[in-house]
């Protein structure tokens, strides 16, 4: 059996991250073990934002040059982004409960706008399934893919603009990261490994879409 190198490397990197987080990264003083959720919550959020940003870029270029490969990439990246956002929306509340005392707060702009982002890209997937014409489907979903990504800067800035329970960035900020070096190394490793996982997922999803479209074209030709 042929093993593709990218999924194997991505899987090994994620496994390495989990092992490092569990056994080689110290507990945080005030939160205890729950703080380790950080090493899957933050990289999943980073990948979700990256995925939706790339959906918008591919969709914008698609509307310009109408290359179906860009539509296929946008479709793949959107689906993978939804998977990562689902993990963000599950691990966030599981971290929040022991620290904030509640799983969710409907008044919190960071939490609710992230949920909206998830709904937008779930709608994107539903829309793709509902439109039969490939050209129309690609055009409608490209517009939605671009509009959805406009939420990303708003979500990032929401902790500065509104009163929220969600903490401000402790690494991605203008001043030095306020994180002990052992934790910072684990976080950086997790960002790399989850980005590799994104690439492996998108490549596999793109190949599936290409094979599906080729089979559909062949069926049409035969008929």
């Amino acid at each position: 059996m042929k093993i593709s190198w990218l999924p194997a490397v991505a899987g090994a990197a994620v496994l390495g991250t989990v092992i490092r987080a569990a056994f080689f990264t110290p507990l945080e003083a005030k939160q205890g073990a729950a703080q380790k959720i950080y090493y899957i919550h933050v990289p999943s959020a980073w990948v979700a934002f990256l995925a939706f940003f790339l959906v918008a870029v591919a969709s914008g270029v698609y509307l310009w040059i109408r290359d179906p490969r860009l539509d296929r990439f946008a479709e793949s990246s959107a689906e993978v982004g939804v998977v990562f956002t689902t993990v963000v929306l599950i691990t966030g509340p599981l971290w929040a409960k022991p620290i904030w005392g509640t799983y969710w707060a409907w008044w919190d702009v960071r939490l609710v706008s992230t949920l909206f982002l998830w709904f937008i890209y779930v709608s994107y997937i539903v829309l793709r399934g509902a439109v039969e014409s490939p050209a129309l489907r690609a055009r409608y979903s490209a517009v939605l893919g671009i509009l959805g990504a406009l939420l990303i800067p708003f979500i990032h800035l929401s902790v500065y603009l509104f009163a929220t329970m969600h903490p401000m960035p402790i690494v991605g900020k203008p001043s030095a990261p306020s994180l002990p070096v052992e934790m910072l190394v684990t976080l950086l490793l997790s960002l790399v490994s989850f980005t590799l996982l994104y690439l492996a997922f998108v490549r596999s999803r793109y190949r599936y879409a290409a094979e599906r479209d080729a089979a559909a074209a062949k069926r049409e030709y035969d008929a």
């Binding site: 005030k30 073990a33 959720i37 599981l94 409960k97």
Partner: protein, 45 residues
């Protein structure tokens, strides 16, 4: 975030940590499996 100091007590929150990792890794594994099965189905056609 801070490292613990000697003698400090920390809250027992490992249940949430284990649950979060189990769910997240299960979702990623299930998605990888769904991609594999969808590709196999298309190739079989």
């Amino acid at each position: 975030m801070q490292l613990p100091q000697k003698g400090n007590t920390m809250p027992e929150t490992s249940g949430y940590y284990h649950l979060a990792y189990t769910i997240a890794l299960s979702i990623y594994a299930a998605y990888a499996l769904s991609l594999y099965l969808r590709r196999k189905r298309v190739q079989a056609k």
